[in-house]
């Protein structure tokens, strides 16, 4: 069953076409991977789904459980159960890890806050009172982002490169978290450059130049990505775009 659908989404930023007639369906309770070279439009797709500012003015539509969410604010989408873990999560001066996670875990108690920290491999005793500021390492911040997502128990989560900056051991915790989300029935859309992470997905979508180039079973897409995307087959497309030609 489809939970989220992008319908012919075309988004221009600074006069540049970043998403190009993009249509994708995501299935309820499944783990999807969004792959593609740098600049393909993966994060942009996530931002459009979450409704971040600067990403709300586009052609086409985004349907969640069959209804358009195009006009909804970020928090309205979040209250429908949609959330996003940023590729580079924001830092908050003075805000404790506890308060940050608790904010997402509205209906749960302190035990939940501790539980999700342990699930991402961080010791609550060491981290709860620290600030979500620049003193956290990149990997720690990413894991706290994921902990906050787990605390929220969303229906659909966008994970933008959950593995970037994560060490080998902690990567196992990320995989555990994916399993947990799957068990909870959460639909996952994760963006990654890692084949190891890709293997945890059930379906893959390959993006290039804001277009859907290929989709299907993970093995098939992974092969295609490895063999045809490096070097990129679509350079031609990019060049034509740069010259201002209509590639639509």
């Amino acid at each position: 069953m489809t939970i989220l659908e992008l319908k012919n989404v075309t988004l221009c930023l600074d006069g540049k076409r970043i998403l190009n007639d993009l249509s994708i369906e995501f299935w309820q309770g499944h783990i999807h991977a969004l792959i593609g070279p740098n600049g393909a439009g993966k994060s942009t797709t996530a931002n459009v789904i979450m409704g971040l500012s600067g990403y709300t003015d586009f052609e086409g539509d985004v349907l969640y459980q069959g209804r358009s969410i195009k006009g909804l604010t970020i928090d309205q989408r979040a209250r429908l159960g949609i959330t996003l873990a940023w590729q580079e999560p924001a830092r908050f001066e003075g805000l404790s890890v506890y308060s940050f996670i608790k904010a997402a875990a509205r209906n749960s108690g302190d035990a939940k806050v501790r539980e999700v920290l342990r699930q991402v491999g961080l010791d609550p005793e060491k981290y709860l009172s620290r600030s979500v500021d620049r003193t956290l390492s990149g990997g720690e911040r990413k894991r706290i982002e994921l902990a906050s997502i787990l605390a929220m128990q969303p229906k659909l989560v966008l994970l933008d490169e959950p593995d970037s900056g994560i060490d080998v051991e902690a990567l196992e915790r990320i995989f555990d978290a994916l399993k947990l989300l799957k068990q909870q029935g959460t639909t996952v859309i994760m963006i990654t450059h890692s084949l190891a992470v890709l293997r945890h997905a059930e379906h893959a979508f390959l993006l290039c130049c804001g277009r859907l180039v290929s989709k299907g079973a993970v093995d098939k897409i992974a092969n295609y990505f490895q063999q045809r995307c490096i070097p990129c087959d679509h350079q031609e497309l990019k060049l034509r775009e740069a010259e201002g030609l209509n590639v639509g």
Partner: protein, 335 residues
């Protein structure tokens, strides 16, 4: 109102159960309502000499040489009525090698037309440590003019930390003025965290002079403004001795029609001194806002949480040995 019920009302307004406090013999207390000293409880090494003025109190507080007062001294002052004047003249001397921390609860919960002035003179002795935290609770209407002025001298090797906090209730008008001189090997930290709304007016002037070799100083100001509130922050850090190190930090978040100004001045007159400054004024960071909103917080809730973080910053940071919020103060304040 009886003295006792005045005291109860004051403590209640700052969220403290006085009985918990009074039951602890090792916690020193000074309780002042308007121009009356309602209670004093001393511990070894602490001397207090107070006299009544028409409109306030004049007091001398002494921490004798080498004394280390383990638990922060609790000072409660303010006024329960909605109008009046309270003027406090203080001389605080922390003698050589002594150590003390003070948490001052300053409360004007019903204020409509109140003026509170504080003139403090402090001397922190050689290798002595003194930490002072002043927490204000005001009424929802503002209605208070608060004018705290202090002149501080931190002698060789001394450590001084002061923290002014008004994050609940309305400011009204506040004029903070601190002048500080740090001698050789001294450490001084001056922090102010204020949230203003309505037509609150906030003026902060902090001047520190690092006059001795290896003196260190940090001036840190965080202000959050809403509605038509205005804030002006003048922080000056002067370094005139070798290896003196200082930093001036000012952060202000403005929303609505609020206006914030910051003038950090750094002045270095010795080639081996080093002073830095940082001033940031802006609205709430959009990425922070969007992150919290993507977790289901409304925009207002997200803004509140971000501002709370900004204002509470510094608390978790460099906590001097004299006062430990977590352990000591909280154990006293929990009701």
């Amino acid at each position: 109102m009886s003295d006792n019920s005045l005291l109860q009302a004051m403590y209640q307004s700052v969220g403290i159960n006085p009985h918990t406090l009074w039951a602890q013999p090792d916690v020193a207390r000074i309780e002042i309502h308007a121009n009356q000293v309602l209670g004093v409880h001393l511990v070894h090494g602490l001397e207090v000499d107070a006299r009544q003025l028409d409109d306030g109190i004049e007091a001398r507080i002494l921490v004798t040489k080498g004394t280390r007062i383990a638990k922060p001294i609790q000072v409660c002052f303010g006024m329960i009525p909605d109008n009046g004047v309270q003027r406090i003249i203080l001389e605080i001397v922390v003698e050589d090698d002594a150590r003390a921390g003070v948490v001052a609860h300053c409360t004007f919960p019903n204020a409509r037309n109140i003026r509170h002035e504080m003139d403090a003179r402090l001397t922190i002795g050689r290798n002595a440590e003194y930490a002072y935290i002043e927490r204000h609770v005001h009424g929802a209407e503002g209605g208070v003019v608060v004018i705290p002025r202090s002149k501080v001298r931190v002698l060789e090797g001394g450590r001084y930390h002061t923290d002014f906090e008004l994050i609940r209730g309305r400011v009204g008008q506040i004029d903070i003025d601190i002048e500080l001189v740090g001698e050789a090997h001294s450490t001084s930290e001056v922090a102010a965290r204020v949230s203003g709304s309505g037509d609150d007016r906030i003026n902060i002037r902090e001047v520190a002079h690092l006059a001795g070799a290896y003196a260190r100083g940090v001036l840190q100001t965080s202000v959050a403004l809403r509605h038509r509130a205005e804030a002006m922050v003048h922080n000056t850090l002067r370094a005139s001795a070798p290896y003196a190190r200082g930093h001036v930090d000012c952060k202000e978040i403005v929303q609505d029609q609020a206006v914030a100004k910051a003038v950090p001045v750094v002045e270095v007159t010795h080639p081996k001194a080093h002073v830095t400054h940082e001033a940031a004024i802006g609205s709430v960071d959009s990425r922070q806002l969007e992150t919290l909103m993507s977790r289901g917080l409304s925009e207002d809730e997200a803004v509140d949480l971000i501002i709370q973080g900004l204002l509470l910053k510094g608390r978790s940071g460099s906590q001097p040995a004299g006062v430990s919020y977590q352990a000591d103060v909280l154990s006293v304040t929990s009701s």
